[in-house]
Amino acid sequence: MSRLAAIGLMLVLSLPVSAADWPQFRGPTANGISTETNLPVKWSAKEGIAWKTAMPGKGVSSPIVVGETVYVTCSSGPRDDRLHLVALDAAKGTIRWQRTIAATGSTTCHPTSCMAAPTPVANANAVYALFATGDLAAFDPQGNPLWYRSLSGDYPTIINQVGMASSPILAGGLLIVPMDNVGDSFIAAVDAKTGVNKWKIARPKDMNWVSPLVRTVNGKEEIIFQAGKELAAYDLATGTKTWAFPHESASIASPLIEGEKILVPGRPLLAGKLGTSGPQSAWTSTKLSTGNSSPLLYQNRVYAANSSGVVTCVDAEKGSVLFQERIKGPFSAAPVGADGKVYIVNEAGQTTVLKAASEPEILATNDLGERTMGSPAISNGRLFIRTDKSIVCVASNPK
């Protein structure tokens, strides 16, 4: 190696490693797992908090983190028709910018939800926010508008009186927009730069709150989307349905993929290998029904927190129950796993921290004292939890 090349290599290797992003619903790989370490274990409303920033409205969406920015959506107003996207400094919690748009679709929903239910998605170039009204907006990291769509305006028969919550994802320069509902039901891929449809595929007219996934198979990317009667895959480039797997799938808890493994929440939950044309079931379980919260696969164990406050942990290979532990529920947030721990946030804002192990061990129960429906994000050694009123950054060393 020449001296110049060696110097170049040293410079590259000495560059600081960037903080792990949490750029979408359930994190970088959409399965609720972070590779971060030295994460906080214990905190309260007054301790272990790096910062807490009041939000302009409520929300059930999860926060996301890209680089040094946290993005979170909220909704407000007597008709819940003011839709906000807030960008905060991840280190300090100061609001960098906030954009507000007016809802152009129905704001009807279940009392526990609101219009800021889908989680945004972002990369280094842009942040994309979908609201339950069908309003879809993209901004650059400085808050300049890139594009905006009124999906309810474009497709006026979109209806979901319980409120929509499926989150968009980015794949191959496209923004995948899931809009299952009982009217004009579809999944669409829009050009991430312009918001113009690349493809739009009709879906079953049914309510569905699950978020899609993307995976690569045989060199091609496909979108995997679960609904009430089946798990389906769509070619990313064209939207062509490539396979469908009939299954009594959940319509709220989302599936996850880890390597070749897939977990499909439903009645029963199915675990197996995801082949080129669908899952091959390894085992199923009726003990892992969760209601609202999506199950977690972490360190070869599946964790499911149900609406009665029971956490069930099963062996991911065999499906055998390792333990069931009653903690305080109910849960809407999906558990997240990192640093040998599983974090489970209940709707009252209490986080139970379990040791990731085959026996139950509660490391801490931490109470923020504010209603919390969205799943936490993990980035740069910190947890970001959004409550109904604020977003909280929890850190091992807050100062």
Binding site: S106, G143, Y148, R149, Q161
Partner: protein, 414 residues
Amino acid sequence: MTSPRNFGNWTFAIRILATTLLAPGDPTMIRLTSLIAAFAASLISTGDSLGNDVTDSLRTIRSVGREGQGNEAAAKASRNVISAGLPALIPTLEAFAGSSATAKNWLRSSVSAIVDAESAAARPLPADSLSAFVSKKSNDPEARAIAFKLLATVKPDAAQAMQPTFIDDASLELRRDAISVRLKKDAENTDALMTLFEATRDLDQAEQIAKLLEQKGKKVDLTAHFGYFTTWNLCGPFDSTKGVGFAQSFPAEQGYVAGKKYPGKGGTTVGWKTVTTKAAYGMVDINKELGKSMDAVAYATVQFDSDSDRPCEVRVGSKNAVHIYLNGKKLFEREAYHHGYNMDQHVGFGVLKKGANEVVLKVVQNNQKENWAQDWGFNLRICDETGGKLPLKSKTASQPVSSPVEPVSPEVKK
């Protein structure tokens, strides 16, 4: 960037100075004058093109269409508007007028970005311009509400002084907030409460004021306040087996004809029945009035007088599929069953004629078995764009009550 007029003054001043210091005809004088003139001209033309740029950019943003049409150009235009800074703020607010809901959300974000940039540069927003914009009632109501919020950040006293004038504003946001503020002050004053009750357009606020009035011994009619019709001519059921009734037109769709009979569902004969509902907010229970039916269509009509030609909004709440007709013209349809009821969930935009008008509402029930899917009913009101009731005189309410035609079974007909 200064105005062309100011540069004109500058060049004049420099010329005066030059003529003082240099002799006429001095080559230096001539060169200097030419240079000044050229410089001033370039700046004036730059000022013009900046203005045109913003105007063109706003036009581009306002042109965004369905399914992202125009988004790429709108993004560039938005950047242009934002980079123009403060001079573009009021024009961007003005651009709300006549813009689509989609365009307005683009404009909203542009206004927000301009404001952020000014705040970052520690430059105050133009309170006088914002105040003038808010005061001009012909400006777009949504834009006025945004401008008012901005005014409140730079000159809170001025905003506070304006607020009481908004209780009957075209902006629902300004109206609601103004009423809320007055309520805190006048909760004990019956006359003031009545004024606020007449002004409010929001259900929750109206109910709140009604409660306060009741505590003062004054009962108000919420159903009448929102303009719900309570007396209807109903006809049905007609057959909608397999849902065909939604798309199919039945003769009763042409409107009320006293005494007319039609072939109904299951071989029956049906006619018009006049009903008056006492349910809150004018809810009509078709199951109760015509008998419970599944896979069925009913028509409801109301005739009324308008004192003028005017635009209107026909607003319907129903868990069933509906069509809305005004004077024979379809304004709206929605084929959705049992997805909840909300006030004003379906809106048809139309034009009333001076004199006699008729609304026909088609309400379609499907055949779902669930307990929550059995309701068959509706309510309907006609209002202006603020949701305020229009001065309409129902003629149906004053018609003689027609005798309902009892359905005749096929067996009896034989």
